[in-house]
């Protein structure tokens, strides 16, 4: 083999061509995937790539770069570190150099404090090489160890456009966001073949670990992409809301007017507390046009979590969705909100809570699922967050729902309310029933009974009237609905200057999980 002089150029050229032609053909034609370096070309600014470890395993003809490409590059002018599995080289599997390269690019990202991007497409560890890449100090386990240490320090972003098996599935899962490509992406601890052999289950890859399943059922996936090009564009959009690391503020863009005029906002919020409405109709009237990146859109849809900009400045929105399951908080909705709040807080992205919440779900089903544990987790994240935060009672805020959505007790910089707001331990129907249950049962005449209930409900409504709460300074201000956006802009401009709040020094809290 030529390894000197002109030989170097030829070898590098061969490596840049990736795996053997027959494998590349399979990747493109059988799987319908982009090749590893094609992905990098779409993702990174032209001419920005600096590559390390190109020569890894260069003495082996068919192991170009040892199956992973690790580079520094720019996304819309901003520095990032990238790890991209090459499926045309031994199905993107990991050998000794593959693992060392991944660890090194992670260490580089930490040192430079720049986002770490993982383009995952790998069959897993090469079993034949296991003693060189599985058990040791700088072997595969260290990739996940570093991911945990990097978490909250620099953004970690993943596109799943191929398999990610067994331990390898922890790479996506440790990221802040997983963008899953339809039909191509899959994550699982045990493959369908292994499931059949070890537990006797017959199941397809798509059913068990496919992109759609993870984005709509398990909640492990965050964003569902129709194809790879869309996924790469989504990754760029996602990063536009983020700073390079946790000690920076997120970038500010040109302000834009909302997609829908706020003038008719009152029309989209029914006064009858029991009627559902679509919270997106409120969101589209307050955020800048074309600034919306939604997380876990297909999962736990009774709560909406997404990044937006108001007046060009990024913020994270947590909004109850009364249109789905009445906007009630469940085990999964609490998980979804908790994760999102911590993500925003880690990277200095202000929080906006939009409330229309009847409370946490009750009943034996959710108690057995540990709704207390999950609710606790959401409350914990709300309390911990020190970024600028505003909560707005759009309509109802009952019970612990008020706390979980950053009500007055949870230190928002301001808790605002629209005139349609109702804040109470519970709604009028439930409250009257709870207080007067025996008395109601004693009234024999149905008409009389109904009259009594209606009267008491009216009294109750008066007791918890939002003007009364405002008069008692329970909330910080009431807002004319059509002025909500301008009010938020003016307030955030003050709150964004606050330093991090003082907390008791400690190692870390003991959050429920």
């Amino acid at each position: 083999m030529a390894t000197k002089g002109g030989g170097l150029k030829a070898i590098r050229e061969r490596i840049l061509q990736m795996g053997p032609e027959r494998h590349k053909k399979r990747v493109k034609e059988d799987y319908g995937k982009l090749l590893c370096r094609e992905r990098l070309e779409i993702l990174l600014d032209p001419g920005s790539i600096v590559e390390d470890g190109l020569m890894a395993n260069c003495l082996e003809e068919e192991l170009a770069a040892d199956g992973v490409v690790t580079v520094l590059g720019k996304v819309n002018g901003r520095d990032v570190a990238v790890m991209a599995n090459d499926f045309s080289v031994k199905a993107g599997s990991w050998g000794q150099r593959t693992v060392e390269k991944i660890i090194r690019i992670q260490e580089t990202a930490m040192r430079l404090r720049i986002p770490m991007i993982y383009l995952v497409d790998s069959a897993g560890l090469r079993i034949t090489d296991q003693i060189y890449c599985f058990p040791g100090r700088r072997h595969a386990g260290r990739i996940f160890h570093l991911q945990a240490l990097m978490s909250g320090m620099i953004p970690q972003v993943c596109i799943l456009s191929g398999p990610s098996a067994a331990g390898g599935a922890y790479i996506p899962t440790f990221c802040d966001v997983i963008i899953c490509v339809d039909k191509l992406g899959a994550m699982y601890l045990g493959s369908p073949r292994m499931a059949e052999v070890t537990i006797g289950e017959k199941v397809t890859l798509e059913e068990m670990g496919g992109s759609r399943m993870h984005c709509s059922v398990s909640g492990v996936g965050d964003v569902f992409a129709e194809n790879e090009e869309e996924a790469l564009q989504m990754l760029k959009d996602y990063l536009s809301y983020f700073p390079q690391h946790c000690f920076e503020k997120p970038p500010v863009y040109e302000p834009a007017e909302p997609e829908k005029s706020i003038e008719d906002i009152e029309k989209v919020i029914p006064e009858n507390q029991n009627l559902p409405f679509d919270m997106y109709e409120v969101i589209w009237r307050i955020i800048d046009r074309d600034s919306w990146f939604e997380m876990k859109k297909l999962w736990a849809q009774e709560i909406i979590t997404g990044f937006a900009r108001i007046d060009g400045k990024p913020l994270g929105i947590i909004a109850n969705q009364p249109k789905v399951k009445g906007g009630v908080l469940f085990v999964d909705s609490a998980d979804k909100a908790c994760r999102f709040i911590r993500l925003c807080d880690a990277f200095n992205i202000p929080l906006l809570y939009l409330m229309d919440v009847p409370g946490f779900m009750i009943g034996s089903k959710v108690e057995k699922e540990g709704i207390l544990r999950h609710g606790c987790k959401m409350l914990y994240a709300v309390s911990e967050a020190t970024v600028p935060k505003i909560s707005v009672v759009i309509r109802k805020a009952y019970g612990a729902g008020l706390y979980a959505m950053c009500g007055p007790s949870h230190e928002p910089d301001a808790c605002l309310a629209l005139p349609t707001a109702m804040v109470a331990v519970m709604g009028p129907e439930a409250a009257v029933n709870a207080v007067y249950y025996n008395h109601i049962q004693e009234i024999k005449d149905p008409k009389e009974r109904m009259k009594f209930v209606m009267e008491k409900q009216k009294e109750y409504r008066e007791q918890v009237d939002i003007y009364k709460l405002a008069a008692n300074l329970i909330i910080d201000d009431m807002v004319v609905p059509t002025q909500l956006r301008s009010e938020l802009i003016r307030r955030f401009a003050y709150y964004e200057k606050k330093p991090g709040e003082l907390r008791y020094p400690k190692k870390h809290g003991v959050m429920q999980v």
Partner: protein, 70 residues
Amino acid sequence: MAEVACPMAGVVAEVKVQPGDTIEPGQELLILESMKMMIPFQAESNGVVREVKVNVGDFVNEGDVVIVLE
């Protein structure tokens, strides 16, 4: 044959389909009274109703099958 499961616990307040009806995504199947609210529950896929397994006033738990499709 597909089964439609109830998304949350509550009491059936209204059933809006009957056997033989063709349904499409987004169509209201039933209204559930839960957490002191009337919560509409919509179809997620196309189909023809073969059987409605609940009546007005029934308690249904999350995950219970309420409608069977052809």
